[in-house]
């Protein structure tokens, strides 16, 4: 048993010397392989963490949101809808909500304005960290917003939401109901949408159908749909995943194809010499197995570790320009490290195994040929 281990150790020693002889080529190979794994793993870590966080956080969102549509677009909903929905069986509470968007021309940023359940404090606002960063304004400062009439509504910042909630609150401004109505000219009998709380979650769909029947111009959005949204936004067919993964997979296919399509003249000569000095075919295959494993395992582990630090400790800076798009306000969020061992195992089987196999197969073909013929064919 020990002698077999010693043989493998010696073969590994020979493999490492062989790899070091072609230091430049193999370093580039390891670098590119590491980058491919790093990109794929970063995407997997990022999308999985966002999806898991979305479910954990948004399962506390309203049971159902009822929007009114007009000419195919989301429109204000009249308050009389609330009374009718409230009377439906199984409905616990119905609340009109005020929220909207405000484009800040000075910073070219979009903010989301929300009115809290308690109505908020007139003349005072609470801002998200992103708003505070973009406007360079903190607690105690004032933030003037232009109303629909072109008049300034001057609001005092009474607080800034903490940075650890940026993933949900970065662009938020908490504003009072009165200031919200003043800013956008919304009448007392209109709301942005309606939040419905249902007694039995199993009845949500039935109640949604009833609402749709009573008010055909509405669109109920269930919490289950909100939760499903984040699953489909970042599934494998989403642009982010598909683009980067496709690039990385093609790079890897070129890689593996280069290995599988045949050996270089130098590598064939090496195998011929090894066979001529008495190496068995199995030893040559073991040598090539170690060669494939050294490159793929080192790259795989380095890629995974770098991806983990990139996504969960460094705020995924490489994704920032992609995710930011044209937005000025970009949340600086730190994701909670949800990692799925199954996904890492899948990545392992899709990268390390094919590469190692692609290294062994052409070597095995060369190793079974007479060494004299291999060396003469140079």
């Amino acid at each position: 048993m020990n002698s077999r281990l010693e043989v493998q150790r010696n073969i590994l020693d020979f493999t490492l010397s062989s790899l070091l002889r072609r230091k430049a080529k193999n370093s580039i190979l390891i670098l590119v392989f590491t980058l491919v794994v790093f990109m794929l793993a970063s995407i997997i870590f990022f999308t999985n963490a966002v999806k898991r966080e979305a479910v954990a956080v948004l399962k506390n969102s309203p049971d159902m949101v009822v929007q009114r549509l007009s000419a195919g677009r989301h429109d204000l909903i009249p308050s009389e809808y609330i009374g009718t929905i409230k009377e439906m069986k199984g409905v616990v509470s119905v609340k009109g909500r005020h929220w909207g968007y405000y484009f800040e021309p000075a910073a070219s940023a979009n903010f989301t304005l929300v009115v809290p359940e308690d109505g908020g404090e007139d003349g005072k606002i609470v801002t998200g960290k992103g708003v505070s960063r973009t406007m360079r304004a903190g607690e105690g400062d004032i933030l003037p917003l232009k109303s629909y009439k072109g008049e300034w509504v001057v609001l005092a910042i009474k607080g800034v939401l903490k940075s650890d909630s940026e993933l949900v609150s970065s662009d938020l401004i908490e504003i009072s109901e009165k200031d919200f109505r003043k800013l956008f000219g919304i009448s007392q009998d209109s709301f942005t949408d309606i939040a419905v709380t249902v007694k039995n979650p199993k009845e949500t769909l039935t109640i949604a159908k009833k609402i749709k029947e009573s008010f055909p111009d509405t669109r109920p959005i269930l919490r289950s749909e909100v939760l499903r949204t984040y699953d489909s936004l970042f599934n494998w067919r989403s642009g982010l995943l598909l683009l980067i993964a496709a690039g990385a997979v093609f790079a890897f296919i070129i890689f593996a194809f280069d290995r599988a399509s045949g050996l270089s003249a130098e590598e064939r000569r090496e195998i011929g010499i090894l066979k001529a000095i008495g190496w068995e075919t199995s030893d040559v295959i073991a040598f090539k197995f170690w060669e494939g494993s050294v490159i793929s395992l080192s790259s795989f582990m380095a890629g995974i570790i770098l991806a983990y630090f990139h996504v969960f400790f460094a705020y995924a800076p490489l994704f920032e320009p992609v995710l930011k798009g044209w937005a000025v306000l970009y949340p600086e969020f730190r994701l909670v490290p949800f990692i799925d061992p199954f996904q890492i195992a899948t990545l392992f089987f899709l990268t390390v195994l094919p590469y190692t196999a692609a290294t062994i197969i052409p070597s095995w073909r060369s190793a079974v040929v007479d060494p004299d013929r291999i060396m003469r064919s140079q």
Partner: protein, 101 residues
């Protein structure tokens, strides 16, 4: 130390870091209610329905509340012009049609 031993040591160190990663992930996600307490509080307080990732367009800021004509926001044949709209896939309920319609 021989070269193979140095290499195996390097692999062992990498494995140890990966084990630490899993341990870190496990510990950090043990109690989601506590980990996300502040975010959950805000979701409840404001009735939030979406994560704040893309702030450039309303249908990417609140994809779950997006209009049914998204991404043809401006007219039926318009191209998607916000980068983030190309990065994410449309919400499932917009593609499959609403179940409760």
């Amino acid at each position: 130390m021989r070269r193979p031993d140095r290499f195996l040591l390097y692999l062992g160190a990498n494995l140890a870091i990966m084990a630490a990663m899993f341990a870190h992930s496990f510990v950090s996600t043990q109690n989601p209610e506590q980990v996300f307490a502040k975010k959950i509080e805000l979701v409840k307080r404001y009735g939030l329905t979406d994560l704040c990732i893309f702030t450039e367009a309303r249908y990417t800021r609140h994809p779950s509340q997006a209009d049914l004509n998204t991404p043809f926001q401006d007219y039926p044949l318009s191209f998607e012009h916000f980068p983030s709209g190309s990065i994410i896939a449309p919400p499932g309920h917009l593609r499959s049609g609403m179940t409760h319609e």
